[in-house]
Amino acid sequence: MSDREREPGTAIPSPHRSAARSLSALFGRRPRLALSALLVAPVGWLVLVYIVALLLLLITALWTTDSFTGLIVQKWNLENFKQVVMEPLYRTVTLRTLGIALAVTAIDVLIALPVGYYMAKVARPRTQAILVIAFMMPLWAAYLVKAYAWRSIFSDGGILSSLGHSPGLGLAATITTMSYIWLPYVIMPVYAGFQRVPNSLLEAAGDLGAKGWRTFRAVIVPLVWPSVIAGSIFSFSLTLGDYIAIQIVGGSQQLLGTLIYSNVGTGGNMPLAAAIAFIPIVIILVYLLLVRRTGALKNL
């Protein structure tokens, strides 16, 4: 642009930064270039740091640990995967972990549905704002604090036992604690999902003669479903990889995460840990694949 075209007082800032200007013009002419310039840093980061690390993990899983020196030997083999598939320990722990993850997800969804519905469609705007804060706050309170709180509730001499009976630390405590910790992660997307259901649609259903329950089932549920799935991805995935909460409230119970963590570091067996890590990876990828068509991934 020449100076002749610029009138005094126009709101064009810094017309003299010619480098930015010509770069901008270049991007205007070549949108592909602009797209590449935008994506190179974020995609580069995620591919280099994350995807490459996952691939390296697979490579490590195909190596082996010298049982005498404890060092990793780059000898290609499938022994670790064979061990993970064949040994009953891994099957038992996988099933236990999967069971807990499904139970936690089911509990959280069952709680989030009425709460999300109430917040979005029943509560008055003021109450709604207060409830959003009330349910968001525990999301910010430290994860460990919450696990720790449940420990003091379930443990021997804790609150439950002073009230009469406590099931003690173990699976029940673990499921309760994890449902508790991940609950806000499920409530928030479900609430947002209910909020997006237009009231006009509900009125239309009513005008067409649908009663409350029918409207809920035929109109609301299909619209909210992707958000429910999005919430379930959080609770499912977060539970599947946990090894901290179970140490705090699980007594001596082990999860997949426990087995992975105990094999990392000095004295561990990184190739075996890597092979075990592929159990939750495969489970989550299958889950993501199953729910992909619901559009849930766009609601995360």
Partner: protein, 269 residues
Amino acid sequence: MRIPAIVKITLGTVVGAVLVFVYLPLAVVAFNSFNASQNLAWPPRAFTLKWWGRALHDAGALHALGTSILVAACATAAALVLGTLAAIALDRFEFFGKESVNLLIILPIALPGIITGIALNNAFTTMLGLPLGLITVIIAHVTFCIVTIYNNAFARMRRLNGNLRDAAMDLGADSFTTFRLVTFPQLRSALFAGSLLAFGLSFDEIIVTQFTAGTSVQTLPIWIFNNMFRPGQAPIVDVVATFLVIVSIIPIALANRIGGKESIQANAA
């Protein structure tokens, strides 16, 4: 749709019960931070401020707090840049592989933290032979923070009207100037909300941190975890925990103020 009163009352009761379920454990921790008994006998027989005083002078806890803030601030800053760039790219362009890029961004939170942790630990130690430390923790945290910024920025841009941007460009502003003067002000509050969430995620993270920190770096969650089971330290941990819950009101209040202002603007529009 008319919701029958009985349904309303039932739902309200459920919500109330869930709120009690949500706050009871936090109340227990807060209560215990004043419990005079060192092994947190229940019910407490006497109350004291001793633990609060001691926590204020606990060098380990204070140092860990500083480390956590540093890590969260660095990770949030890097994620802010990367997440915003990705959101602009995915909002403005249609291209082959867009779905895959979207999946790539959400993968670090869709897969459990332990996977991010072990994959990066393996890459740093087994493959690259790098020592674990502050830098490796920050790199790991950036990876899962990108998505929160991206989500907030992308959702906002979907709702924005492209006319203002076009007008700026028509008036001769280059794309950088347009971003600085038009797009960024419209995105600012969404980016702020996303940053708060990213900061919170990083601040509270323990699993990925444990895998990438080595022994030299202690963030606050790691400090809590290491001290939780030490006999004399339990009340101090309760103090730190209560402090965190109280402090967490600040980001929520901030986010809510901005969110509230915006919903008013959105309603007015």
